[in-house]
């Protein structure tokens, strides 16, 4: 027996090392504090329920929620590919009727529980209860095995939109929400609809649920005790698959928006911020030795026309407007070096146009380069001439006069508007400005009670259809029947050559199916129409000019690093570089 003891002991030791989970090893929290900012709210507004407003979804934002609740994957915009975070493999099943994700088996929650398919199923069944968009594309969420989940598409129709949603969702803990998920599944089994009393009662109960702790898959977590009046602290936890790669022991997030974070950036309390700072503030940051890293914002300001009102219903007038606004200047006055004048005028952000359109189509696009002589020709071709005051007027003496409504508290859109109006008036338009609080501008656009306005165009998305929809579909077909919006029919749009197209349907179909070449062909057609019709003018494309304090943070990517093509938002490069330890405390 004594002779057997040693081999048995060795065998047991080996087995325990193989099968034991790496639970709360002897890892120590790394040193150093990340000094960031996010406009979170205070408890009791702030709570830890992911399925109610006021939870981590809005209080951590895309950038920091990804530090506590991991997503299946992260998207690299330069290479157009996903890289796994919680997911090990992912993709459409052979007949494309479902999407399947196999998750990593070594992932743990902060409370030591194993991360598995039950967590994913819980996340989505409660998402179904809450009315998540994903259920416009999928119907059944099937647990294939402990670490594999299959999402079945409605009617077997595959969707790239759904793929992105599924790979970018934050997975929550079954330990926290499991009981609700069980009750939700029991409810769904009764075939209750979302309007039923039972459904609504369970939803209310879920929204009123207040978890006491945030069980995290990410390398950081927090409790409400960590939510201070001035800053919120996310603390390192040892059980994440990224616990041994991150280099900061805590993430300190200062509360506040642009005006309140500015002094903290200057005083060194904030080492990285994603707020929109005016050009003069950016200059001051540079003078104070801060590095400015620019990434795409995923949108820019667009000049919107009320297309039912004269003269904006005349194509040539809109084209003339495009020609009299010098867009590089407009970009500078929008956000300093944090914006660039639109080049391609394709309806897709310039940063994405080369990858989403064919080169042949790009060559055909009219860049509408600043050219007042060409603008004059266009206006004269439709019966306009200058009056005694130099203002353009038609044969009846009606001048090119209008009011431009803009959001006064968006410094970028306000800057773009004021410059565009100044340039138009210098050419001979007669535009007056009307500033309003930002919350009041969208209702005015929706109601169609405006001549000219400004709102965003483009999208922080990899699909061309998502770019095209903003602003034309957003302010036309996506409105209710009583809301005219831009006041034009996209379903029966008459082009310059007299042909009538259903632009709405064309945009909707751009990304149908999984054939990317077919997507490109469909996108080419839409881009050419938007380029010639000038239903809106994409003034510029904004960049997020983000100050970094290199006395605090080391490891910033070089200006030509492909990861900087990722836009701000849920694909922000900081998320990836923090998780993988590429960013670290300086010194």
């Amino acid at each position: 027996m004594k002779r057997l003891f040693l081999p048995i002991a060795v065998l047991l030791l080996l087995l325990s090392s193989v099968f034991s989970v790496p639970f709360a090893q002897d890892m120590e929290a790394p040193e150093g504090t990340w000094l960031g900012t996010w406009p979170y709210t205070l408890p009791p507004d702030h709570h830890l329920n992911a399925y109610a407003s006021g939870g981590p979804n809005q209080n951590l934002g895309n950038q920091f929620r990804g530090m506590v609740e991991l997503t299946p994957a992260f998207y690299m915009w330069a290479s157009n590919e996903y890289v796994g975070i919680l997911a090990e493999t992912w993709g459409f099943v052979d007949d494309n009727t479902a999407y399947e994700i196999k998750f990593r088996e070594d992932a743990l929650w902060s409370n030591g529980s194993q991360f598995d398919a039950d967590d994913v199923v819980t996340t989505y069944e409660l998402g179904r209860l809450a009315g998540w968009t994903q259920f416009n594309f999928i119907d059944v969420v099937e647990k294939v095995d402990d670490f594999t989940v299959r999402f079945h598409f409605i009617d077997g129709e595959p969707s790239l939109v759904a793929e992105r949603l599924l790979l970018k969702d934050y997975i929550v803990a079954d330990d926290t929400y499991g009981e609700f998920a069980v009750r939700a599944m029991e409810l769904f089994a009764t075939e209750a609809d979302s309007e039923s009393e039972e459904w609504q009662a369970l939803l209310v109960e879920l929204q009123e649920f207040r978890p006491e702790e945030l069980i995290a898959t990410g390398p950081y977590t927090y409790s409400l005790d960590n939510v201070g009046d001035a800053f919120l602290t996310l603390s390192w936890q040892p059980n994440s698959i990224y616990s041994d790669t991150v280099n900061f022991g805590e993430l300190k997030l200062w509360a506040g928006e642009t005006e309140t974070t500015t002094p903290l950036v200057l005083s060194g309390e904030i080492a990285h911020a994603t707020n929109v700072y005016p050009p003069s503030t950016i200059d001051t940051f540079v003078e104070n030795g801060l590095e400015i890293v620019t990434v795409p914002r995923g949108y820019g300001p667009a000049m919107l026309f009320n297309l039912a009102r004269e003269p904006w219903n005349i194509r040539e007038v809109r084209q003339a407007v495009a020609l009299v606004i010098e867009r590089d200047q407009n970009a500078f006055l929008t956000n300093g070096f944090g914006a660039s004048g639109t080049q391609f005028m394709s309806g897709i952000l310039d940063s994405m146009t080369p990858s989403l359109l064919s080169q042949e189509t790009i060559d055909q696009l009219d860049p509408w380069t600043f050219d007042t002589a060409r603008a004059e020709e266009l206006l004269e071709s439709v019966g306009y001439s200058r009056d005694g005051d130099g203002i353009w007027a038609d044969a009846d003496g009606n001048t090119l006069s209008a009011e431009w409504v803009f959001p006064q508290d968006f410094v970028d859109f306000a800057g773009a508007t004021q410059d565009a109006v100044a340039q138009m008036n210098a050419f001979g338009f007669d535009i007056t400005l009307r500033a309003l609080p930002w919350q009041e501008v969208p209702p005015i656009i929706r109601e169609g009670s405006f001549d000219l306005s400004v709102w965003s165009w483009g999208a922080g998305n990899v699909l061309a259809s998502r770019h095209f929809r903003n602003p034309v579909q957003r302010w036309v077909t996506e409105l209710s029947d009583e809301q005219p919006g831009l006041a034009i029919s996209l379903t029966e749009l008459e082009l310059a050559d007299g042909t009538v197209v259903n632009l709405d349907e064309m945009i909707n179909n751009v990304n149908n199916g999984l054939d990317t070449e077919a997507h490109r062909v469909a996108a080419d057609e839409v881009a050419l129409i938007l380029n010639s019709e000038m239903l809106f003018i994409p003034l510029n494309e904004m960049l997020s000019a983000e100050p970094f304090n290199t006395d605090v943070i080391a490891g910033l990517p070089a200006a030509d690093d492909p990861i900087l093509r990722n836009p701000a938002g849920s694909d922000h490069f900081v998320i990836w570089m923090l998780l993988n330890g590429q960013l670290s405390p300086a010194g």
Partner: protein, 361 residues
């Protein structure tokens, strides 16, 4: 003279007469009328606020929807998400919402926050109210005391260099909005001169110090209140100085002051016992009214210092169109203003009995 009533009934009648008379007396009384007017005003202000808030362009769901669409969601998707996040149905007619709100209000229920589903508005108010009371309340008292002292001195030595300089300072201070002082304090004294650490002074208290009646905690509370209080004092002291000066000058012309001087009383005694007390009376009334505005007088200052008061909560509620939270905070402000007005009326009636008698007549 023979009574026309049965003898036994006489006391009952007398009781009735007494009861009615007392009721009529109460109804005619100054206190009753002031309180009744206060209740009516509170109802009218609450109703007005309720509808005014809903006339603001954009509702909570449409604003959240706009924010989500900015991130690339379609309208259907964004509206869907917003509707599930928020507990608010914009399709319910406003009058129904009003009746529901008033019904709940009468039961002491201010409802749940729209922007934080499941969170009671009452708990929000209780969380933030003490901080505003502490900062703006103490600032008001400091400002009042300073204004009284300096204003009295300015009036007493009117025409002197001291008066001229202080009048100029007071006029300048009262003409600049409080948020400008907040910005100057932060940027000039905090960032440029580095007199204090900008980050450390934010919020209501150092989160690393456990809450309790300890020196450390109370010290931290005072330290964090210092900048908002200073800002508020600088922005308001000028008005008190000028008001006190004006009131004192009119008091100085009274006969009893000349008599006091003729009696050879010391300047100090005349200043404080004769002039100060009497000149302060109208300002005390004004102070009582100002106390009501304490809750609303801190919106922008709290935002700059990230001070966890009602002003900061109100700013967020307005931005997100959180109707129920806005209504709750406005209700507290309304009640405070009305209560302080009632207090001022009653104080005036107590200090000057002619006021209540004249009104009854």
């Amino acid at each position: 003279m023979a009574s026309t009533f049965p003898v036994d009934d006489a006391p009952i009648l007398n009781d009735k007469v007494t009861w009615r008379t007392r009721l009529a007396d109460i109804r005619r009384s100054f206190v009753f009328r002031v309180i009744w007017q206060g209740i009516l005003t509170a109802w009218a202000a609450t109703t007005f606020t309720f509808f005014l808030i809903r006339l603001l362009p954009g509702d909570p769901i449409s604003i959240k929807t706009d924010q989500l669409m900015q991130q690339g969601y379609t309208l259907d998707e964004a509206a869907n998400i917003a509707a599930t996040l928020f507990r608010y149905d914009p399709t319910v007619p406003v009058w129904q919402q009003y009746l529901q709100y008033m019904s709940n209000l009468l039961q002491g229920d201010l409802g749940q926050s729209i922007s934080s589903a499941g969170t009671e508005v009452t708990s929000l108010i209780l969380r933030f109210l003490p901080w505003t009371l502490l900062s703006v309340g103490s600032a008001l008292l400091i400002s009042f005391a300073l204004g009284i002292i300096l204003g009295t001195a300015m009036a007493y030595w009117r025409g002197s260099m001291f008066d001229n300089v202080m009048t100029g300072i007071a006029s300048t201070l009262s003409g600049i909005p409080d948020y400008v002082y907040a910005i100057i304090i932060i940027i000039v004294f905090g960032v440029q001169l580095e007199w204090f650490n900008v980050g450390e002074m934010r919020g209501g208290v150092d989160p690393d110090i456990p809450a309790g009646f300890t020196f450390a905690y109370i010290g931290s509370v005072i330290q964090h209140a210092l900048l908002p209080v200073t800002t508020y004092v600088i922005a308001t002291v000028g008005v008190w100085m000028l008001s006190m000066k004006s009131s004192t000058i009119s008091t100085l012309g009274e006969d009893y002051i000349n008599v006091a001087k003729a009696r050879g009383l010391s300047e100090r005694r005349i200043l404080f016992s004769y002039v100060g007390r009497n000149a302060m009376l109208p300002l005390v009334t004004r102070l009582a009214i100002s106390i009501g505005f304490v809750l609303s007088g801190s919106v922008i200052v709290e935002r700059f210092f990230e001070y966890p008061g009602l002003g900061r909560a109100l700013t967020i509620a307005v931005t997100t169109r959180d109707y129920t939270t806005m209504q709750g905070i406005f209700l507290v402000i309304t009640i405070a203003v009305i209560a302080s007005n009632i207090l001022a009326d009653l104080m005036l009636g107590w200090l000057d009995p002619r006021v209540s008698l004249e009104e009854q007549a």
